[in-house]
């Protein structure tokens, strides 16, 4: 029969051969997504603090922030992950792979987010802060009510890129025994010897997740643009 050798039949056969593995891939993808959400939250917290610190008029606040950004941007992300998971236990600081991974990538992304936020803050004309404090606002009230709401509009697009980068960076955590999507694919491949099939599947799942993030960001962007 022609059908038995045709491309449709081949596709069906291929699907049947991977179908059983899909639920476990979805679980691994879900773990990667959870990691991503936690890490993104951390990058925003670290990023905001460091951005404000870098714009501080006090050198004792500015200086550590600059050192931090310099270190993070100048060293490989993988080395930073290793320092947290393999390095710190040597000085008796022990963390689960999940905690070490989140902290390492959170601090890593934080440095980049800090630069994004700082750029957004600097893009707001000086007169906006001046008119606020001339009315008696404290600098912090002015920051929260006048500057940040305007800066958010500017920083959402680059922040989206950074979120996608964070998601992709979670694959580095496969090296510290976290069975997220990448390590899961490797384990399945070790058992099945089908690297092409399963790396493609992992890639597709990453692609779906980054697309979801981008869509959320696009929605946020529209929402904040409507305001003015």
């Amino acid at each position: 029969m022609m059908d038995a050798d045709g491309p449709v039949a081949a596709a069906i056969a291929w699907w049947v051969s991977i179908e059983d593995y899909l639920p476990s891939f979805l679980d691994a993808a879900w773990l990667a997504f959870q990691l991503t959400l936690v890490i993104i939250g951390l990058t925003w917290v670290f990023g905001l603090v460091v951005a404000l610190a870098k714009t501080s008029r006090y050198r004792v606040i500015r200086w550590p922030a600059e050192l931090y950004v310099w270190f993070i941007r100048g060293t490989p992300t993988l080395i930073q992950v290793f320092i947290f998971y393999f390095g710190l236990p040597q000085i008796d600081i022990r963390m689960s792979p999940f905690a070490a991974g989140c902290l390492a990538l959170g601090l890593n992304g934080g440095a980049y987010v800090a630069e994004i936020i700082r750029g957004g803050l600097l893009a707001i004309p000086k007169g906006q802060m001046e008119s606020a404090i001339a009315l008696g606002m404290s600098p912090w009230t002015a920051m929260g009510r006048i500057i940040l709401p305007q800066a958010i509009r500017i920083i959402i697009p680059p922040l989206t890129n950074e979120a996608a980068t964070t998601l992709k960076n979670t694959s580095l955590l496969s090296t510290i025994t976290l069975v997220e999507l990448t390590l899961h694919a490797q384990l399945i491949i070790a058992a099945t010897y089908r690297p092409f099939d399963f790396y493609i599947i992992a890639a597709i799942l990453y692609l779906i997740m980054t697309s979801v993030l981008t869509q959320i960001a696009a929605w946020l962007e529209r929402r904040y643009q409507l305001r003015y």
Binding site: P125, A132, I133, S138, Y228
Partner: protein
């Protein structure tokens, strides 16, 4: 406290105020008394220090030396601003309004939100009260209908008048105007000056850095000419503007009034020579 200091005491007293940016001295020994209800025009070439003087008065710039007294109380500008700001300085700023050349309205807020923001956040006014006051003030300048629009939909003159109302909503005792008509198209200057003139009539204490010599002559009670960071000449506006004693004042006025051309220019030249 201000009642105690009232009477004959000036609202604002400045003594030997100095300000340098690095080695560049912008203000040198400025001394000045401003009585309640006085309207003072501050004129001078660009770079003469007149804007810096205004900005030192509400501590947008920290002076480099000298003393400032507001309502009889010394303003402590020497204390470095703390991590969370300086409450005493913030309180001072609620009593002295300021309007800027570039309006500096907040684009992410509506006109109404611009006006109620500081009364609510700084003075803790309930929203309803703040909105009432804002609506009344916006009505006074004929912009009540624009209250829910964003500033960029307004003309420059309208934006500047909203900026003035935003300052007025804090019920300040004095107002600083920093070249508030310089960024406006010529046909929009009048509406802003009219509003300022009506404030002057209402008895607001005003310090007005301006290039509008007609406004200085007709509205201000006193004109101060600043040259190279010093008060080169001051007196009743008509005196200073029409019969300047100082050679530099004379030359400055010649130059400014030249641009206006016509009768003014001839009058100035006749007076000067």
């Amino acid at each position: 406290m201000s009642a105690m200091a009232g009477g004959g005491d000036p609202l604002l007293r400045v003594r030997d105020l100095r300000k340098s940016f690095g080695v560049h001295e912008v203000l040198a020994d400025i001394s000045l008394d401003v009585a309640r209800g006085e309207v003072i025009a501050i004129i001078g070439a660009s770079g003469s220090g007149k804007s810096t003087l205004l900005r030192c008065l509400n501590l947008l710039e920290r002076p480099s030396g000298g003393e400032i007294f507001y309502a009889g109380e010394p303003v402590d500008w020497r204390r470095p601003p703390g991590f969370f700001g300086d409450p005493a300085v913030q309180r001072l700023r609620t009593r002295i309004g300021m309007v800027f050349q570039s309006y500096n309205l907040w684009p992410h807020m509506t006109v109404l939100e611009n006006v109620i923001e500081a009364p609510m956040r700084v003075k803790g006014l309930p929203r309803r009260e703040a909105e009432e006051r804002a609506t009344y003030l916006l009505g006074r300048i004929g912009l009540a209908a624009k209250r829910d629009q964003h500033p960029f939909t307004l003309s420059g003159g309208q934006q500047q008048r909203v900026a003035i109302v935003r300052a007025l909503a804090m019920e300040p005792e004095a107002m600083l105007f920093d070249e508030v008509t310089s960024a406006l198209d010529p046909e929009l200057v009048g509406e802003v000056l009219d509003l300022m003139a009506s404030l002057a009539v209402d008895g607001m204490t005003m310090l007005v850095v301006t290039h509008e010599m007609d406004f200085a002559r007709e509205v201000s009670t006193r004109t101060i000419f600043i040259d190279a960071g010093r008060i080169a000449e001051q007196g009743p506006s008509v005196e200073v503007l029409e019969r300047p004693v100082n050679e530099r004042t004379r030359r400055f006025l010649d130059r400014v009034l030249h641009r206006r051309g016509g009768v003014d220019r001839e009058a100035a030249v006749d007076d000067g020579r």
